[in-house]
């Protein structure tokens, strides 16, 4: 529909190169039975972004046979379809025809986010309690006395009970967990402070005392829960956006039985020696050996090689490789759990150790803070006991100290900055997994890049289009439109605007090229040795006898040169990293020649070619041993172990699934400027966090002596706590103010539209 069309088309172009439509068997396997013959399938449709999209999709899907209901969720960019019967309705094809690329993903059994709804309910209950108790407290502060004051205290005590039990439970559980494992976290002083304040206030109420801290304990919970909920929402949003991207691992495969029967089996049930049929456009599910057929394979995600590899029977293939042109029969040589993909996951898990040593700033501060606070309160109690001998007074003052030091501002100091920073990155198409990632990114002093798919797009680009006869280029483009080989796709982009030229027959010869017949002539587009069978000499391109040519009846009429196009802004991004004092290196699985070209183009002095996945890990470990903190940016399966061994890691959205899961940041746009931007925002966030902690400490330095001297009333406590929290929040919001230029303005829109935005043209 009108507004969605351009974005959607662009999406097809980009995404289409790496993913294909899920087959109906695959959809069936991924669907979830709702009982009574009803099944539900969840599809991720990254390009929906307006009301018109919702209507188009829901109407079109609703009209299909056997479809019970279709519902679009615009926030998560998903469509859930309920359908009946054995036959899978063709909803993916329908979506495709409407211009929306759909991806399957696991239907989660309990799709609802339990933690989030618990947090929101807790915020609601705490907010209700805090509001009502505050109202009652205000009348006490303004002079309610005697029986009225007692009544107000009793009502407050009653309202506070559900708030403490329900909303406080989150803190009590976390504090208990920490204590049981002999650790300290911010929740320990919160739990102790809140429950002691409540107990003391209850005692006061029973004895008709004038100071009760019900308001303080409940509003404390309320403020802290707000911070915690914001933090959770931000992270969850990033997580679902990342998960909604295309699924790159094969889910199952067509197995050819000995008796000729064909079964579609999930990957987990495929055993060695089974024969598998791999159609053009499928991913290879397990390691195997080719029995029959020839094709071109895209190994870029697996090995980092930028050029497709032609394969013939007898050659081994690795799981995760994409089959481009011909159909293949392979014999499985390993089960899924022993395949290349699983091997990468194991290396990744083994490497995880390094990062676990990192402790978040908040944890480090609270490990110091909690004992100091408790010690201060205890010493205050002893001091007043020694001075006056009045245990009730000593207790009251000690609890006032606990309340005033309760880390309200400190609890907000770190998360609020991280939420604001994550929001800024989100608006620029960068997803952050958690707050500690930003803290780690701020400290890096070396950056390591993968080549194919990270510094480059991993897609060839035609470089000599201007020197080719336009008529020939148009013919080549029309022929190339029939193939999904990356070279063909690059050529097909140059199709002449006026309609398709008519060929009598177009056939694709996997591993060689495309042949077409038109008006008695035979045209071939492909390898020089195959296409130009009459002209073995002359017209040699950069690649000698290799390279891609267009021939007419065996005579070469055009030569095509390709190079792997660098990502947008790659050079500028690397310069900005250098300016920020970060040394840049490139590690690649590709050949030295290919790496040399890219490094010259982008101005990277230091590169190591031909690395195995373990080689990348070793390089990073060596750097780490030299005391450097390393940022790894990579996208391939072969980068995954390196992504998880590095101090912090970034992956583009086009990365393999497990790579995206291993990385701390995922950027959705094509531009590599995301990397220096993430570094910049993280460093600013780091300095704001330190400022906020300083503010919280200064507040305590002022307020604690007042509390120790016994001058704190519930009114003063309420004012001091709110003021310090507001100060900290205000300081954190300054990060939003760093957004200055027009680029951020235009990207704000894009951020909302998520994935589609990276693909749409800049507006």
């Amino acid at each position: 529909m009108s507004c969605c069309a351009p974005g959607a088309e662009m999406a097809l172009d980009l995404v289409g190169a790496t993913s294909v439509l899920p087959s109906s068997q695959e959809i069936r396997l991924a669907s979830r039975s709702l009982g009574d013959d009803l099944r539900q399938t969840d599809l991720s449709v990254p390009t929906v972004h307006c009301g018109a999209c919702i209507q188009t999709i829901e109407t079109a899907l609703g009209k299909l046979d056997h479809v019970e209901a279709a519902r679009v969720n615009l926030s998560t960019k998903r469509v859930s379809v309920r359908w009946r019967g054995d036959e899978v309705p063709p909803f993916v094809t329908v979506l495709e025809r409407l211009g929306y690329q759909a991806h399957l993903f696991e239907t989660e059994i309990d799709a609802k986010d339990k933690t989030l709804s618990e947090l929101i309910r807790a915020v609601a209950v705490a907010g209700f309690a805090a509001g009502n108790i505050m109202l009652l407290s205000v009348s006490v502060w303004s002079g309610a006395e005697g029986a009225t004051r007692d009544l107000f205290h009793w009502v407050s005590a009653l309202i506070a009970i559900p708030a403490l039990a329900f909303a406080g439970g989150i803190f009590f559980r976390s504090a208990w967990n920490a204590l049981r494992h002999g650790r300290m976290n911010m929740d320990v002083p919160i739990a102790v402070g809140v429950s002691l304040a409540y107990a003391m206030s209850l005692y006061e109420t029973i004895n008709h005392g004038d100071h009760a801290y019900f308001d303080a304990s409940v509003s404390l919970l309320f403020f802290l829960l707000i911070g915690r909920t914001l933090d959770h929402v931000m992270r969850e949003r990033a997580r679902t956006a990342v998960k909604g991207l295309s699924q790159l691992a094969a889910r199952g495969a067509m197995v050819l039985r000995a008796d000729g029967a064909r079964d579609y089996l999930p990957v987990g049930e495929i055993e060695p020696e089974m024969l598998l049929l791999i159609a053009a456009g499928d991913r290879i599910p397990v390691d195997g050996e080719i029995i029959q057929g020839a094709s071109d394979l895209d190994c870029s995600l697996v090995s980092g090689e930028s050029n497709p590899r032609s394969v013939t029977p007898g050659e081994p293939v690795q799981a995760g490789v994409l089959n481009f042109t011909g159909s293949l029969t392979i014999k499985a040589t390993a089960a899924a759990k022993d395949s290349f993909l699983a091997e990468m996951v194991r290396m990744m898990e083994a490497a995880e150790g390094g990062r676990a040593h990192y402790r978040r700033i908040a944890d480090r501060v609270s490990a110091l803070y909690a004992p100091v606070v408790h010690l201060t309160a205890f010493v205050t109690f002893l001091g007043w006991m020694a001075a006056t001998g009045d245990w009730h007074r000593a207790m009251t003052i000690a609890i006032a100290v606990l309340i005033i030091t309760c880390p309200c501002a400190l609890g907000l100091a770190v998360p609020i900055v991280q939420v604001v920073a994550a929001r800024r990155l989100f608006e620029n198409g960068i997803m952050v997994k958690d707050g500690s990632a930003m803290e780690r990114l701020a400290t890096i002093d070396a950056a390591v890049f993968d080549k194919t798919g990270t510094l480059t797009l991993g897609k060839p680009r035609l470089v000599n289009a201007s020197s080719i006869d336009p008529a020939m280029l148009a013919i080549a483009a029309d022929m190339a439109a029939h193939s999904r080989h990356p070279f063909s796709r690059a050529i097909a982009g140059f199709a002449a605007p006026g309609g398709q030229r008519k060929f009598d027959a177009v056939t694709e010869h996997p591993g060689f090229g495309i042949e077409a017949a038109a008006a008695g002539n035979i045209w071939r587009l492909g390898r020089r040795g195959w296409a130009g069978w009459k002209a073995r000499t002359g017209g040699e391109g950069r690649h000698g006898y290799g390279g891609t040519v267009l021939t007419k009846d065996g005579i070469i009429v055009a030569t095509f040169d390709f190079e792997d196009a660098p990502r947008a802004d790659a050079r500028a991004a690397i310069e900005r990293l250098n300016d920020a004092g970060v040394s840049v290196r490139m590690l690649s699985g590709d050949t030295a020649a290919a790496c040399g070209e890219v490094s010259k183009m982008l101005g990277i002095d230091d590169f190591i070619p031909c690395l195995l996945p373990s080689g990348k890990v070793e390089c990073i470990e060596t750097l780490a041993r030299e005391g450097q903190r390393v940022l790894m940016v990579g996208d391939g399966l072969n980068d995954t172990p390196a992504l998880s061994v590095a101090h912090v890691s970034i992956a583009p959205a086009t990365a393999a699934d497990i790579g995206r899961n291993a990385a701390d940041f995922v950027f959705l746009r094509e531009s590599l400027a995301a990397v220096p931007l993430a570094l910049d925002v993280s460093r600013k966030a780091g300095s704001l966090i330190r400022q906020n902690i300083a503010i919280a400490i200064v507040y305590n330095a002022v307020a604690v002596p007042i509390a120790i001297l016994g001058h704190v009333t519930p009114l003063i406590a309420a004012i001091a706590m709110s003021a310090s929290s507001l100060l900290v929040i205000g300081n954190a919001l300054r990060l939003q103010g760093f957004v200055s230029n027009g680029q951020a303005q235009s990207s704000r829109q894009d951020g909302r539209h998520g994935i589609s935005s990276q693909l749409a043209q800049p507006r």
Partner: protein, 51 residues
């Protein structure tokens, strides 16, 4: 004092009503697709809640 004896319950009741309303909205899935809800108002004939 006597006014308080009914004013406080009334205030708490109204507050609880709001809280209950919010929790109900949360449970019935009205916060699941905030962006979608904003757009759906423009679609004619789509006034049924999520099934």
């Amino acid at each position: 004092m006597t006014t308080l004896s009914y004013l406080i319950p009334v205030a708490l009741f109204l507050g609880a009503l709001g809280l209950g309303g919010f929790l109900w909205a949360l449970r019935s899935g009205q916060y699941e697709d905030l962006d979608g809800a904003a757009e759906r108002i423009l679609i004619d004939g789509d006034d049924k809640p999520q099934g």
